[in-house]
Every structure is written in C-alpha cells, then in structure tokens.
Symmetry: C2
DNA sequence: TCTTGACCTTCCTATCATGGGAAGCCTTAT
DNA sequence: ATAAGGCTTCCCATGATAGGAAGGTCAAGA
C-alpha cells in the first residue's frame, strides 16, 4: 500500500502521515526501491487509532501516551482512564470559556436594536473604560434591577 | 506614554502592541527622538477596545471591521449586531463540536473501570476498525438495549 | 515502446496570535 | 560614571494542517 492508499484507508491525509512520521509519532515507513513509502494493514490500523484520537481532541503528545498504553499489554486501565478524564477536563474548561463569551455576546446583541441607527451598546461596551466586559454587564444588569 | 506604560494601561502586552502595529490593525505610533514609541490616551483606548474584542474571541480581521464601525459615526447598528451574531454562531459551532467530543469521551470513560487491569474499552474503541467512534458507541448502546 | 496523467518524493511557505530571546541602544537613578 | 531596566529590531517557536513547486515514478493505453 502506498501513502495515498494508506491515507484513504485510514482517513489521515498523506500530508499528515508524513508529518506524523517526521515528528516520530509513527515509525518510519518502509520504502520501495524507488523511495515510495509502503504501508501494511498494521500501520493503517495505527493511523486509524491516531485519527480517532484526534477526533476526540487529543493533542499529539497525549496520543503518544495513548499509543504507549495501547502497545503495553501490562497497562493499567486506570492510566488510560486518567488520560481520558484529563482530556474531558481540558475540553470542559474551553467550553466554559467560550460559553462565557457567548453569554456576554448574547447580552450585548440583545441590547442592540440592530437597525440603521448608529447607536450600539456593543460598540459602546467594547469602547469603554477599565471595567472588563463581563463585570460591566453584571453591573449594568444588577443596577437595572 | 511609552509602550510599557501603554501595555499596562491597556492590558495588551508590548509584544502584541508592536504586532498589531506591524499588521496594520493600529496606526504606527509616534516616536521620540531616540525611536521610542509614544502613546496617547486615545491610542490606549483603541488598544483596550482590541483587548476586549479579543476577550470575546473575535479574530483580528473581525476586529478590523468592528473598529471601522466604531469610527464610523454613520454606521448602522445592524452591521455591528451582525458581526456579533456571526461570532456567537462560530463559537457555538465550536462548543457543539467539543461537546460531542466530551460526550463520547464520557461514555468511553464510564465504560472503563479504571483499575490495574489492562482491559480498557477506551483503547479498544480507539484501536478498532472502520466505524467512527461516535457511531460505534451509538451502535453499542442500541444493541445493549 | 512511448506518452500521458496521476501519483510519489522533498522542501518551503502559510496559517493565527502569542511569547521567548539576543544584541544593542536609551534613560534614569544613584 | 555606572548599573539597572526599558526600549528597539530581528529571528524563532508554538500546533496541526494545507498549499505549492520541482522533480522522479508508475501504470495504462496508443
């Protein structure tokens, strides 16, 4: 199997396969006499493992750890689970951060009538003093009550 | 005000101020005779606007549009609102994507007992065939019912 | 056998926003 | 005068991915 076929079979682009090889995530593939990379089904399976891990948001250095555990028959499933839980935590932190942005933006957008007049609480908010956007909104909301 | 003071006053690092200048997001600052950048309170306000927009996740090219509207006294607030709504949409798409990862990971982690034995449904799932992780889980769940 | 098109190779570039660091100049306080 | 600390520019790195150029290779059809 050459790199294009391995790419199709694994769902990892040829570019990325070469990249993973260059950073040592996967071992260097065999070569034909003319220099083409050659892949076996075992290596395609490895690539699929990587693709799936990437789909779950694992960064490459975590995938390295996952692979080490995958290959280790004496692994403790606790170690795998820990990696998964850490990944969940990291994703949740990012989600919360973005959710905060969304909440703020929604409040600002709700306050903006969105017509052809120039008055806009969104710009007013972005353009003003020291207070952070979110604190500012909290203050405005509580003083409105 | 030199760049360090402007950085403290705006919450934007000196590095980033120079960067924003280099990409044309902000006009080139004035200079002292010896070449130091000089900032006025107006420019610090501009930097604050940028910092706040960044805190809401706007990419630099969107901030350029926001700034153009900020400066335009004849703007339509609808245009500002549209930018905000697009930003909300983009953030929500990312949140949903990550939420999908979290859901999958949680199901896998729940199925892993996390002890010192090597058997691990997480690795089993990552290491297996063609089916996508999420489809796979859906199938496993429905066949378990 | 020759040609052609599709594939492979390496190497360079870019993304996006940010930080680190080096070498050298400037300013300010002692 | 000297030392510390801030400023300048320039280069490099991040993380994962894609684009592209220049050149070699393979396979199918004329």
């Amino acid at each position: 199997m050459n790199i294009g076929e391995a790419a199709k079979a694994s769902g990892v682009s040829a570019k990325m396969i070469r990249y993973y090889e260059s950073i040592g995530l996967i071992p260097a593939a065999g070569r034909t006499g003319s220099g083409y990379r050659v892949y076996t089904t075992t290596e395609v399976q490895l690539l699929r493992f990587i693709r799936r891990s990437r789909n779950l948001g694992f960064p490459v250095d975590r995938i390295e750890e996952l692979l080490a555990l995958w290959r280790d028959r004496g692994r403790h499933s606790a170690d795998v689970k820990r990696l998964a839980m850490e990944q969940i935590d990291g994703l949740e932190r990012k989600v919360q951060e973005m959710q905060g942005m969304i909440d703020t933006l929604r409040q600002l957008a709700d306050a903006c009538c969105g017509d052809d007049r120039p008055d806009c609480p969104i710009l007013a908010d972005l353009g003003q003093g020291d207070v952070s956007v979110r604190t500012e909104i909290r203050q405005r909301l509580s003083s409105a009550r």
